[in-house]
């Protein structure tokens, strides 16, 4: 630490430049991770926050709601399976809500209609208004972001291309599906909307898209075997099955991976070049008795101090950016994620400094005696 700090203080500009680069990189890493988190929340928060552990799909539907069609008759059989503590059906369709009686395109709002059984474990907590009821099937609860679009409690809206209209009786929080606001309706109303065209239910009795299960350590293969035509997956797998989810996440992860690799390279090369420039100095110190460990520690602690302070500045900048970002941006910082990426960045820069440590250990102390090579 002694040498490291003395040198940091003495060559401020040199270290400031690399610190700025590292600040920018860590800033970008945190912003990207926030965007990735925001996007995946938008894509599937309803699924992610759902109190279900497993999802039963139709066989061959690739864990995708839109491709799956089952009969609710299965619910009773599923409830009897070992370790299953609760069962509830669910259905989804995409739709547009029309604000008032407007005919303008701007006044259509994309929504995801999610059919559930009122009062089941799938019904999210209400933050304003009241919940779903089985006897009034057009009364719905919607995500609070619809307020930003001008919808209020008690509003009735029409659905584009349908004669049905729904009335908002309650608001819920963090419920988005397929990047748009979720609108929860009772199962019965959902069926009316989803299978408006005659025969579109393929003659399935009480059709649903999927059946959610609660229960620890449910044996998926037993269910698959006993109930033919079904495919049970974990909730995490169902999230992966959301259209575009994997691709979207994959893109962000790839960018993050590249950024991390670039930062490792930049830090590594900077300190390597720096070490090479100072090889004469290191030679002198070795000649007067410094061990490799002493000099190696100096470089590693220098990298540590530099990356740690850069990361902290990067975090501050990220939270600053988050504060001034427009509301509609799918940007969501997660403290746990920020912490994880900070550690990853720190470890990566420390690892890349090991190249310099190796270089130091190879420097010949004889250099110090002004030998002409």
């Amino acid at each position: 630490m002694f040498l490291a700090l003395k040198e940091l203080r003495h060559s401020k500009t040199r270290f400031l430049m690399i610190a700025i680069i590292f600040v920018l990189i860590s800033w970008l890493v945190f912003i990207l991770s926030g965007l990735g988190n925001g996007l995946s929340t938008l894509a599937a928060s309803t699924f992610k926050t759902m109190k279900a552990d497993y999802v039963v799909f139709e066989q061959g539907s690739k864990a995708s709601m839109s491709k799956s069609l089952l009969s609710n008759d299965l619910s009773a059989k599923l409830a009897k399976m070992p370790n299953v503590s609760a069962v509830s059906p669910m259905g989804t369709i995409m739709a547009s809500a029309i604000k008032g009686s407007s005919k303008l395109n701007e006044d259509k709002v994309d929504i995801a209609i999610i059919g559930i059984d009122p009062g089941s474990f799938l019904e999210p907590a209400i933050i304003e208004g009241s919940g779903l009821t089985s006897d009034q099937v057009t009364k719905v609860i919607v995500n609070e972001t619809m307020k930003d679009e001008g919808f209020k409690l008690g509003d009735t809206f029409q659905l584009d291309g349908s004669t049905e209209s729904l009335t908002i009786v309650g608001f819920v929080k963090n419920q988005t599906y397929n990047h748009v606001a979720a609108v929860f309706t009772p199962m019965e109303e959902w069926r009316k909307l989803a299978f408006a065209a005659p025969g579109s239910d393929k003659g399935v009795k009480d059709p649903v898209n999927a059946i959610m299960l609660q229960g620890k350590d449910i044996d998926r293969s037993t269910i698959n075997k006993q109930l033919s035509g079904t495919d049970t997956v974990t909730r995490a797998a169902a999230v992966q099955g959301m259209p575009g989810y994997k691709e979207e996440n994959g893109t962000i992860m790839m960018m993050l991976a590249f950024l991390l690799a670039i930062s490792a390279f930049i830090i590594g090369v900077f300190f390597y070049v720096f070490t090479m420039q100072k090889s004469n100095q290191f030679g002198i110190m070795k000649a007067i008795g410094a061990k490799n460990g002493f000099l190696g520690k100096a470089v590693v602690s220098q990298v540590f101090v530099l990356s740690l302070s850069s990361i902290i500045v990067g975090i501050l900048l990220t939270y600053g950016t988050a504060a001034i970002m427009p509301k509609g941006m799918p940007f969501m910082l997660d403290t746990k994620l920020v912490f994880t990426y900070s550690i990853v960045l720190l470890v990566i820069s420390l690892l890349s400094s090991l190249v310099s440590v190796r270089t130091i250990s190879k420097i010949d102390p004889l250099k110090a005696l002004g030998r002409v090579e």
Partner: protein, 231 residues
């Protein structure tokens, strides 16, 4: 137990293509505490090689090096580091100070290499620097020092761990005549009052008056020269 530094029949060979050249050819040599000896000789004759072997920086191809009676020819790299840190003080050519450390820290970093710096170490470093006339320069960086002040700092650094042997490779190479005399007389003074065994390689014959003995190196062979014959 013999004190000081003793080298017996040490040789150092380098392979240059097909040929094997002897940079050092069966050199035997001895320097005792309180003795200040000089090594002179033409360029490429093997003076630096000799000093490197004496200073545990280079292993001899053959022969023995004894420091205070202890054979250091078979020690590991780490042990040699320790020997250099505690038993040997190096004074090298100019500009071998660490650029980002002030005069006092140049000495304290040596203490750091072997652990913590205690208040007593700091007091001792300051006392040493004051003795060498650097009392007002404690907080100065090397770039703010004159050539002579830099070399005096290097002398203080060589003495801080109270080593038995002082080795100087052309310590006056970058100094003018007046400063060179100051620096060498200072080394001579410290060597005698502190009872160190010291070897200095030099090109400057006028500085030999400060030394007790003068050796001449020629083609890797070391021989005692008569002081009178040089003057």
């Amino acid at each position: 137990m013999t004190e000081g530094l003793q080298i017996t029949a040490a040789s150092k060979y380098y392979n240059e293509g097909m040929n094997r050249i002897a940079a050092l050819d069966r050199v035997s040599f001895k320097v005792e505490p309180g003795e200040f000896v000089a090594v002179v000789g033409p360029s490429g004759s093997g003076k630096s090689t000799f000093l490197s072997i004496a200073g545990a920086l280079l292993k001899a191809s053959e022969g023995k090096v004894r420091l205070n009676g202890k054979d250091i020819s078979e020690l590991s790299g780490k042990q040699l580091s320790d020997i250099r840190l505690h038993e040997i003080g190096f004074i090298m050519q100019a500009s071998n100070l660490v650029p980002y450390l002030n005069v006092l820290d140049q000495l304290l970093v040596v203490k750091r290499m072997s652990g913590k710096v205690r208040a007593a170490d700091k007091a001792m470093a300051i006392k040493l620097l004051e003795e060498l006339g650097l009392g007002t320069k404690l907080k100065n960086y090397p770039e703010e020092l004159s050539g002579g002040e830099k070399q005096r700092t290097a002398i203080a650094r060589a003495l801080i761990n109270d080593p038995n042997v002082i080795l100087a490779d052309e310590p006056t190479a970058s100094l003018d005549t007046k400063r060179a005399h100051e620096v060498v007389s200072l080394i001579a003074h410290e060597v005698r009052t502190r009872h160190k065994a010291a070897i200095m390689v030099t090109h400057d014959d006028r500085l030999l008056t400060y030394c007790d003995k003068v050796y001449r190196m020629e083609d890797g062979k070391l021989s005692l020269a008569e002081l009178e014959s040089i003057h």
